[in-house]
Amino acid sequence: MADRAFDTRRLPGAATLAIACFAILYLPMVILVANSFNEGRVIGQWEGLSLHWYGKALQNEAFVAAAKTSLILATLAAMIATITATMAALATTRTRGFKGEGAIHITLNQPIMVPEIVLAIALLIIIAQIKQATGYSGLGYLVIAHSAFCIPFAYMPIRARLEGMDLTLETAAADLYASRFYAFRKVTLPLLAPAILAGFMLAFVISLDDVVISDFLKSPGQDTLPTYLLGELKRNLTSEIYAISSLLLLISVLIVGGSWLLTRKKT
């Protein structure tokens, strides 16, 4: 009877399905990357290992321009989103409630509740008219639109951190006659820094990931990496597309890996 003490954590078939799940997730990505290293022109016919398509992509002006646009856009949008979200998080936490708190909360979460395609259409209607009226067609529209839908993602980790934060240190600073700003700069901000960084990275990735809104709002010559990829995909499936996709994949691996190492040190 004693050996009937079975493991409660065992669920028959779970391991098999889990391994299948990981295989399903990774097989397409591995094949994508493998294809990008294929010397040959025809996808699926292996003609030897080469970096040919990466070289080709790097010489491709349109790709380099798109990469630059993506980088500038994601950096600016994530910065605006993180700064405004930090301020908003400071406003909505550590309070016994104030007039309009609910309204602020709903507003800050609104962009994630609306499907992306709807937001894209809605922005297109408005921004097409502003473009016509002002004559300005720069990157500003994309920056501000990206900031708007990145704010909730930056707001979440910062708010969570503030809510879990110990107030005694700030009280101590105040007891020692630190001004409100001084206490914020010397006590709150350093404690909040990891969450702000996490919020920034989240916002950066969300902006970099966006296809639909960028595709609808961009003026000619404002392709981002995803919209460039989408445009190329419409024409022809080439190994260069796979090389560019692999580069984007590499970026996410680096960002996830980086944040993983950052948080691992903490625990």
Partner: protein
Amino acid sequence: MDAQAQEIRSDTLRRWGLALPAVTIITLFSILPLVVVVIYSFLAPGDFGGVRWQLSVEGWFSVLFERDIFDDTVTLSDAHLTILGRSVALSLATTVITLILGVPTAWFIATRPARQRAFWLFLITIPFWTNLLVRTIAVQEMIRSEGVFNNLFLSVGLIDAPIQMMFTNFAVLVGMAYVFLPLMVLPVYAAIEKFDFRLAEASYDLYASRLYCLRKVILPLVRPGIIAGSILVFVPSLGAYVTPRIMGGGKSMMLGNLIEMQFGQGRNWPLGAALSLTLTALVLVALVWYTRLTAGKRRG
């Protein structure tokens, strides 16, 4: 007393001041555009896209019905109903597939020793953070006519000609299940990880069968995670645009693609606006249902 009221007032003002930049950006670039969509849905379509400033419910009417050009008879719009039905059906199917694959995976990760857990979780977060378009391209390579599966089947001699899998409901389903799978695993994992397995042990000690324990002890406590995961998969599936566009093309459109079409070739902006709001309403219904379900749990 007055001083205290003053203090509350200045605190409220200070907090509003801090929140103002974020609130302004979202109001101007996310809420206001939606208000314009609501207005546009009640206007008449312009001849070359855009709208004519004339009150009309034709846009809303066309979401479900169509009028015969010759004799004005009103019939249900087959094309729109098909797309609406497909969007809901494929989103539900995507949710079910990700549940079947995602829940055991979450279980598997949550029951690993703590040190290994981080590694498996890391493997889920990489696709989670990888560009949606890139992942769609990756899954497309598997099932397109000259893709991995067809090449494999051809070389083995299983088939003589490539199976046309792209641009079908199947392709859209495969694509969405692939790209949204990580969204299911993470919340379910969080729920299982919190589960105290001593409760399961206790139920076994009391002669509960494995199935009974799963149903009566484990499932009720893990359910919030499963519901959260289902919502996280269902909502973006319903509004999906990029994945159905690549996997389904013009043949297997979803609501998102139909909306885009009205602002492109279709040139019927009011209809596009009404469809957008229909989609938003469907999403909100799912979200409200979710909050009520979880709020009910907490109270009960």
